[in-house]
């Protein structure tokens, strides 16, 4: 039976073209980019070529705005702690939406433990930031406000340009976590007024182990990883040559194919949405239209998400994700689902499907039938 992978928000395969491009940086080119000899220079060229491609994906002012990191978690940590600590003289307040990824929330909580004041901005039932509350919360001494471009669990896209205007009227810097959105929807850091932006390599078909932080010219931040002073002193450590080179190529392909691919994915997404919502007591989570092209998510009453995941995998050979407590390390249901107003018992029964290049519209009936059978079987077992 054919496997259908629908968990691209968790991990993605490396695109074959990316692998082909970057393979030589594992096999033939191995110099240290900091070395001055020809082997080092060749590695250095690969890094700089990648920097240019990543800058072009998000229309950065120039390639020196891009800092390579080990991934989205490190980029988020650098953006938040790096700006908050560097700008302590201006204030010790930080803010973020209530549905940020844990790699944004936890560095913020660490700052809170060290004397910073953290405020979380509520979202509405679709997951969009409450603009009035945002205005009310921010003040001159709010040095960094972190709002994700799009959410990985409910797919909702934020009105970043509008948010940027408010942040800059009231606070200092806007950090945007674009891990889920990068390479999927157009991002223009200059037009959208973004100060810091997180990107992940693997979330756009690049190798795992690389990420980037865009830093707008003039934004003041300090390193959180001191050492040999690579990446303009902002991120020490010898560059992960293969992953960084691959990330650049992945960014180039994503930019080139985005329009066409997002149209194709929206077609599949909306058909899945229509078919799955025919199931009794099924509900969409997140925004219906302002959502990522490859993302569709639901909740079903009376059943639990981990059981949905297991049944989909074992019976139907379809890999999915859930915000269920049972799949988290903390055994708490997803903070995102609670933030959009779901009760605990409602948040347990969620299903997240994220599409990729391997998926096609012909798979929709198979997936919809599998979800229907899974929900039906688990409801037969359930006393609710």
């Amino acid at each position: 039976m054919e496997k259908i992978y629908l968990d691209h928000a968790s991990a993605m395969p490396v695109d074959a073209r990316v692998l082909k491009f970057a393979e030589r940086y594992l096999k033939e080119v191995f110099g240290n980019p900091s070395s001055l000899h020809s082997a080092g220079l060749e590695a250095k060229r690969a890094i700089e070529d990648s920097r240019k491609k990543v800058a072009e994906l998000i229309n950065a002012e120039n390639e020196t705005c891009i800092v390579f990191t080990s991934g989205a978690t490190e980029s988020n940590n650098l953006a938040i702690k790096g700006t908050a600590l560097r700008n302590m003289g201006k204030g010790k307040k930080v803010a973020a939406s209530a549905i940020e990824h844990i790699s944004v929330l936890n560095p913020l909580k660490e700052l809170q433990k060290n004397g910073f004041e953290l405020t979380l901005i509520p979202v509405d039932s679709t997951g969009q930031v409450d603009i009035e509350k945002l205005k009310a919360i921010l003040s001159k001494d709010t040095t960094v406000t972190s709002i994700m471009c799009a959410n990985n669990e409910i797919g909702t896209i934020q009105p970043i340009k509008k948010i940027s205007e408010i942040v800059h009227e009231n606070g200092l810097y806007l950090h945007v976590d674009a891990t889920a959105a990068g390479g999927r929807i157009p991002i223009d850091v200059q037009n959208d007024g973004i100060d810091l932006l997180t990107l992940s390599s693997n979330d756009m078909y690049g190798p795992q182990g690389a990420g980037a932080l865009y830093v707008k010219p003039g934004v003041k931040l300090q390193t959180i990883l001191p050492g040999g002073g690579q990446e303009r002193g902002l991120r020490s450590g010898t560059e992960n040559l293969f992953a960084v080179a691959g990330m650049g190529e992945a960014a180039r392909i994503a930019k080139h194919e985005m329009d066409q691919e997002s149209k194709r994915l929206i077609g599949i997404r909306d058909k899945l949405m229509d078919e799955i919502l025919k199931i009794e007591k099924s509900y969409l989570t997140g925004h219906r239209t302002q959502r990522l092209p490859h993302h569709v998510s639901f909740r079903f009453s009376g059943i639990e998400g981990e059981s949905i995941l297991l049944n989909m995998d074992m019976v139907h050979h379809i890999q999915v994700s859930t915000g269920s407590a049972c799949t988290s390390r903390t055994l708490e249901p997803s903070h995102v689902l609670l933030a959009i107003g779901l009760k605990h018992e409602e948040a347990h029964g969620s299903l997240v499907l994220t599409l990729g290049r391997s998926n096609n519209i012909e798979q929709v009936p198979t997936v919809a039938t599998a979800v229907k059978q899974t929900v039906g079987r688990l409801r037969e077992l359930s006393p609710l």
């Binding site: 639990e304 605990h344 359930s382």
Partner: protein, 128 residues
């Protein structure tokens, strides 16, 4: 055991749970857990001469919640109520070749549900 997922036995019981359903006018009924926490189990028993002759369950919860429910019904069926009362959470987990550590407490309520059903049976009998 390393936390790398479920044993084959857990998965078998999740896929093909035994004794699913409910019993009309049961001799004992137990309910444990809470949907707010993500686990809710209902256990029904039929008892003749203090022997559990039939047992059924309904469970809302994760894979291990369903597998432990199924396993406890298998362990209890045909047993004297005093023997069945001695079945512990650890017995259920052992019979399933172990549970991931974090599941040992939250989703291993099936023995509790069985004990609640037996207590209910004894209470009803005492009241007769």
């Amino acid at each position: 055991m390393a936390d790398i997922g479920y044993s084959q036995k857990v998965l078998e019981h999740f896929m093909n749970p035994k004794n699913v359903g409910n019993i009309e006018n049961p001799d004992g009924y137990g309910k444990v857990g809470n949907p707010v926490c993500g686990d809710l189990m209902e256990m029904y028993i039929r008892v003749e001469n203090d022997i559990i002759t039939d047992i059924k369950f309904k469970t809302f919860g994760c894979g291990s919640a369903i597998a432990t429910s199924s396993m406890v019904t298998e362990l209890a069926k045909g047993k004297h109520i005093d023997e069945a009362m001695k079945i512990t959470r650890n017995d259920v987990a052992d019979e399933l070749d172990g549970l991931p550590p974090k599941k040992m407490h939250c989703s291993n309520l099936a023995a509790d549900a069985l004990q609640a059903a037996i207590k209910d049976y004894k209470k009803r009998k005492g009241a007769e």
